[in-house]
C-alpha cells in the first residue's frame, strides 16, 4: 500500500495559500453591503402600500420582556399578512443589556429595537447610532397629536427624530386593595380631596394595620426603584404644592433657579418621603426593600393595602388571581391650591422604538421599513395600547379607550369635568426639566438625581438614617447639576 504523506513544508505552503485566499476574499464587497452604483438606495424602498419581496426574511424585533407575548401576537398578524416573513420578537432586560450591546458592537443588528432596557436617551453624543426617522417613508406623521417628527430635532438642533413613541406617558397613582380599605372603614376615593385628607387617611390606615393582628404587614408598603424615584416620583410628589409646579421645576433644570434654594420645588419630594418614614406610613428600611419582591408581592398577596404605582401592577395583581377589588386615586391631592394635579411622564421624544444605523445597509431593509410603517399604522396602535394598558397620543379612525385597569380607575377621570375626583383635576404632563436640559448634559455625567447608577438610593439611606437632611439632598442635587450640565 502506498502511504501518502504531506511534508511539513508542503503543509506550511498550503496554509499560507489558504490564508492569502481568505485575506483576498475579505477585500471583496461584504455580503451585507448595499448595492453600489445606479441602484436605488435602500432608504428609498417602498414604505407603506406595497410590500417588498419577503421570501425567507426573518425580522428580529425587540420588545419589553413582559409584553413579548402580546407583541408576538401583534407581529404574527404582520407575518400572516406578508407571507415569507418571520417576525421573531425577542426581549432583553436590564441585566443583559450590556451583553446585548456588546453583541451589537460586534455586528448583530435587529430590525427594530427599543431603548428602554438599554436606558438609551438620544442626544448629541449618541444620536448617530440610530437612523433619522424623518428620512424614512412614513405615512403617519400627521396622526400623532404632538409634533413627533420635529420635537426632538427642534430641542437638540440635530437631524431627527431618532426614536418614536406614541403613548401617553406613564403616571404613578395610588393603587389600593378596595376590600382592605373598606375593612378599615376608609373611603379615600370620596374622602381624600386635599393633602390634609391624605395625611388623615395615612394615619388612620397605619392605625388599622397595627390593629389588624398581623393580617396585614403594612398599609403603604414602599419599595425602592432607582428609575421611578429619580425620574418619576421626584417630579410627581412636588405636585402637592403650588410652588412645586412644573414650571418652577423646569426653572431649576434651565439654571434659572437652584435645586437647593430654600423654596426649591424638589424640597417637597424629599420632605414628603422623610415625613412618610417619620410618621410610620412606610417602612423605615424602605431604601432596602425590593420593588417587585417586597412591595408588589405583598400587595398582590393582600398583605399590604396600597402602593403608588404605574399601570402594570394593576394587571399583574389581576393576572395573579388576586380577588380583591383594585381602586385608585391621583397621587397628589393639593395642599394650597384648588387644582389637583396628577403628574404623568411626558411622551418620549428621545427614547423608545428605533432602527439602528447600519440596518439601512441590510438587504432586508425595505422589509424592515415596511414593517416599521405597519407597526405605527392606525390599525395596530390600539392593539399595542391595549397590550400595555395605556392611551395613544395619536388620532385613530375610531374612538378608543384602553381597558387597562389603571386608566379605567384613575386616568380617565382626570381632566374631565364631573369625573370621579371632581372638576379640578389636571394632568401635569409637559416636557420635564430632565428632557429639556438633556441637550446640555455632559456625556457620562451622573445627572441631577444620580438614578442611573442608583446613587439616589444612598441619598435616601442617608436621609432615613439621619446622616443627611433634606437640605443635604438638595445640595447634592445642585452639585450634580453643576457638574453634569453645561451652562444654559
Amino acid at each position: 500500500m502506498v502511504k501518502k504523506t504531506i511534508s511539513r513544508r508542503d503543509f506550511l505552503r498550503v496554509s499560507a495559500l489558504a490564508a492569502a485566499g481568505a485575506a483576498l476574499a475579505s477585500c471583496g464587497p461584504k455580503a451585507t453591503e448595499a448595492p453600489a452604483g445606479g441602484e436605488a438606495p435602500a432608504t428609498e424602498a417602498p414604505a407603506g402600500g406595497e410590500a417588498p419581496p419577503a421570501e425567507g426574511v426573518v425580522l428580529d424585533i425587540m420588545s419589553l420582556a413582559e409584553y413579548q407575548a402580546p407583541y408576538q401576537e401583534i407581529w404574527n398578524i404582520y407575518a400572516g399578512e406578508n407571507p415569507g416573513i418571520t417576525a421573531n420578537v425577542f426581549a432583553i432586560n436590564e441585566d443583559t443589556a450590556a451583553a446585548y450591546e456588546a453583541k451589537v458592537a460586534g455586528g448583530y443588528l435587529a430590525a427594530i429595537e427599543l431603548t428602554q432596557e438599554m436606558q438609551i436617551f438620544f442626544d448629541k453624543s449618541n444620536y448617530e447610532m440610530a437612523l433619522d426617522l424623518s428620512t424614512l417613508e412614513f405615512d403617519w406623521w400627521d396622526r400623532f397629536t404632538f409634533d413627533a417628527k420635529n420635537a426632538w430635532a427642534d430641542l437638540f438642533g440635530l437631524p431627527g427624530p431618532r426614536s418614536l413613541d406614541f403613548m401617553k406617558g406613564q403616571f404613578m397613582a395610588w393603587q389600593y386593595n378596595g376590600d382592605a380599605m373598606k375593612e378599615a372603614g376608609l373611603d379615600p376615593r370620596n374622602d381624600v380631596r386635599s393633602y390634609d385628607d391624605l395625611v388623615k387617611w395615612m394615619d388612620e390606615g397605619k392605625a388599622f394595620v397595627e390593629g389588624s393582628g398581623g393580617k396585614y404587614d403594612a398599609f403603604w408598603k414602599q419599595g425602592w426603584h432607582n428609575w421611578i424615584f429619580g425620574n418619576n416620583y421626584s417630579e410627581c410628589f412636588c405636585d402637592f404644592f403650588a410652588d412645586g409646579s412644573a414650571d418652577r421645576r423646569v426653572a431649576c433644570w434651565k439654571g434659572e433657579a437652584k435645586f437647593n434654594a430654600e423654596d426649591s420645588p424638589y424640597r417637597h419630594f424629599f420632605q414628603f418621603y422623610l415625613d412618610a418614614k417619620d410618621k410610620g406610613w412606610i417602612p423605615a428600611d424602605m431604601p432596602n426593600l425590593l420593588w417587585e419582591n417586597d412591595m408588589e408581592a405583598t400587595y398582590i398577596s393582600g398583605k399590604s393595602v396600597m402602593m403608588v404605582h404605574g399601570p402594570w401592577v394593576w394587571d399583574k395583581a389581576a393576572a395573579a388571581g388576586s380577588t380583591f377589588e383594585q381602586v385608585g386615586l391621583p397621587a397628589t391631592p393639593p395642599v394650597d391650591m384648588d387644582t389637583w394635579k396628577q403628574f404623568a411622564l411626558p411622551v418620549n421624544i428621545d427614547n423608545q422604538w428605533f432602527i439602528r444605523a447600519g440596518v439601512d445597509k441590510l438587504p432586508i431593509f425595505p422589509n424592515i421599513q415596511h414593517a416599521w410603517n405597519w407597526f405605527f399604522s392606525p390599525d395596530i396602535i390600539p392593539l399595542r395600547c391595549d397590550a400595555e394598558g395605556r392611551m395613544p397620543l395619536y388620532t385613530l379612525d375610531a374612538p378608543f379607550e384602553t381597558k387597562g385597569l389603571q386608566w379605567q380607575s384613575v386616568g380617565k377621570h382626570i381632566g374631565v369635568k364631573g369625573g370621579d375626583f371632581g372638576d379640578a383635576t389636571e394632568w401635569d404632563e409637559g416636557l420635564t426639566g430632565l428632557v429639556m436640559a438633556s441637550p446640555r448634559k455632559k456625556k457620562g455625567s451622573k445627572g441631577v438625581f444620580d438614578w442611573e447608577s442608583n446613587g439616589l438610593n444612598v441619598w435616601f439611606a442617608n436621609l432615613y438614617s439621619g446622616k443627611w437632611t433634606v437640605q443635604d439632598c438638595l445640595d447634592e442635587a445642585q452639585k450634580n447639576y453643576d457638574e453634569s450640565y453645561e451652562a444654559a
Binding site: 425580522l59 428580529d60 401576537e73 460586534g106 455586528g107 408581592a297 399583574k316 395573579a320
Partner: protein
C-alpha cells in the same frame, strides 16, 4: 528536668472515666454523624427550597413555603393578555389546544370567557386547559412552551453539545500543547508557555468583544451567515463558542505540561524504537497515563462550560441560545416570572448533579490528584 511517675497508690486512686473508650468512640461517631446530617441538610435545603419555590406563584410568594402551596385555579374572567404577560402563557400552544386558527389574533384584553364565546369553545375545556396553571406554571413554561422563540429542551441540547465538544477538543488540544511544551527545555518552549500563562491576567470581559468581532469578520465572508435563522448561521455561532472554549488556556496548559513532564522520556524512546508513530504514542501510551489530569480538567471545566452565560449571550442569537441565557430571558423590566427562573435553575442543575454522581469515582480521583505524594 526530672521525669515524674505516678505512684501505684495514685494509679489505684484514679477514678475510671465515666465513659469508657468504647463509649467515647460511639459518642464521637454520633457527634460526627449529627454534624454530617446538619451539614447535608444545610447544603441540600437551598435546593429543596428552590424546588418548592418553583411552585409558588406570585400571590403566595410573600410567605415561606416548605411544601407545595394550595393554589387557586385560573378564573375564566382572566384577561388572556395578562396571563401571557405575567405567566408566559404560550398563545400558540393555547390556540392549537383550543382549535383556534394559529393566525387568529386574540386581543390582550379579551377574557377567557370572551375567547370561548368568540370561538365557540366549551368553557369546561378552557378550565381544563388551565388546571394547575398557577401551581405548575414554572415547570409548564419551562418544559412545554417557548421563550424568546426558544425551548428549554433545545437550549439544553445546545448546552450539552457545546460542553461536550468544548471538553473533548480542549482535552485533545491541551494534551498536544503539553506534549509540545513538556520539559520546557528550550527557550522557545518557555516563551510559548509564558504566553499561555499571560492569559491568566487578561479578564475575559476585555477580549470578548474583539473576539466576537473577529468571528463576525470571518463569518461575514459567507453570505449564508447573514440569513437570520439559517442553519448555517446557528451552526457557525455554536462553532465559534466551541472555538473560544477550546483555545489553549493557562490552566489546561499548566496541567498537561507538568503532567507530561513527569512521564519518563524513556517511555517515548522505547515506543519509537518499537516502531510507534507519534500519534500512536500519544493515543496508546500517553493518553492512558493522563487519566488523572484529564479528569482534573473535566472537574474544573465542565461546570464552567455548562454554566457559561456571557459568551453564549453575546455569540448566539436568542432562538439559538444555550441554557443560562434562556433562563435569564424570563427576567423582565417591570415583572419577572420567578417560578420559571426557579424551575429553570433547578432543572439546569440536575444534569450536572447526575453527571457528577455517575462519574463521582473519577472526579474524586481527579480532585485528589497530587494531594497524596507517594
Amino acid at each position: 528536668m526530672s521525669t515524674q511517675f505516678l505512684s501505684p497508690e495514685k494509679i489505684k486512686d484514679t477514678k475510671p472515666p465515666v465513659i469508657g473508650l468504647k463509649g467515647r468512640r460511639i459518642g464521637l461517631r454520633i457527634f460526627a454523624t449529627v454534624i454530617m446530617i446538619v451539614y447535608s441538610v444545610v447544603t441540600l435545603f437551598p435546593f429543596y427550597a428552590l424546588f418548592i419555590r418553583s411552585f409558588v406563584p406570585t400571590k403566595e410568594s410573600s410567605e415561606l413555603h416548605l411544601w407545595l402551596p394550595e393554589v387557586q385555579e385560573v378564573s375564566v374572567n382572566q384577561e388572556i393578555g395578562n396571563l401571557a404577560v405575567f405567566y408566559n402563557l404560550d398563545m400558540k400552544a393555547f390556540k392549537i389546544a383550543m382549535g383556534i386558527p394559529e393566525t387568529a389574533y386574540i386581543p390582550s384584553r379579551d377574557k377567557l370567557v370572551d375567547v370561548a364565546e368568540k370561538y365557540n369553545l366549551n368553557i369546561a375545556d378552557i378550565q381544563q386547559y388551565f388546571e394547575g396553571f398557577y401551581l405548575y406554571n414554572g415547570w409548564n413554561t419551562l418544559f412545554r412552551t417557548s421563550m424568546n422563540s426558544q425551548t428549554f429542551w433545545r437550549a439544553l441540547t445546545r448546552t450539552f453539545i457545546v460542553t461536550f465538544f468544548s471538553l473533548l477538543l480542549s482535552i485533545i488540544l491541551s494534551i498536544m500543547t503539553g506534549y509540545g511544551l513538556a520539559g520546557l527545555k528550550r527557550k522557545d518552549q518557555m516563551t510559548v508557555y509564558n504566553i499561555y500563562l499571560l492569559q491568566m491576567v487578561i479578564p475575559i470581559m476585555l477580549i470578548i468583544l474583539p473576539q466576537y468581532q473577529l468571528f463576525q469578520w470571518i463569518y461575514n465572508l459567507f453570505p449564508q451567515y447573514n440569513v437570520q435563522g439559517s442553519a448555517f448561521r446557528y451552526s457557525a455561532q455554536l462553532i465559534a463558542l466551541i472555538l473560544i472554549n477550546i483555545k489553549g488556556t493557562a490552566l489546561s496548559t499548566m496541567i498537561f505540561t507538568s503532567a507530561i513532564s513527569g512521564i519518563p522520556k524513556d517511555l517515548e524512546d522505547s515506543a519509537m524504537i518499537d516502531g510507534a508513530s507519534r500519534i500512536q504514542y500519544l493515543r496508546q501510551i500517553l493518553f492512558p497515563l493522563l487519566k488523572v489530569p484529564i479528569v482534573s480538567l473535566v472537574v474544573i471545566q465542565l461546570p464552567a462550560f455548562y454554566n457559561q452565560f456571557l459568551e453564549p449571550y453575546v455569540y448566539l442569537d436568542p432562538p439559538n441560545s444555550t441554557l443560562l441565557p434562556f433562563i435569564q430571558s424570563a427576567v423582565g423590566q417591570f415583572s419577572t416570572n420567578f417560578q420559571v427562573i426557579y424551575a429553570g435553575v433547578f432543572a439546569s442543575v440536575v444534569p450536572l448533579v447526575i453527571l457528577y454522581l455517575v462519574f463521582r469515582s473519577y472526579f474524586v480521583e481527579g480532585v485528589m490528584a497530587g494531594a497524596i505524594k507517594g
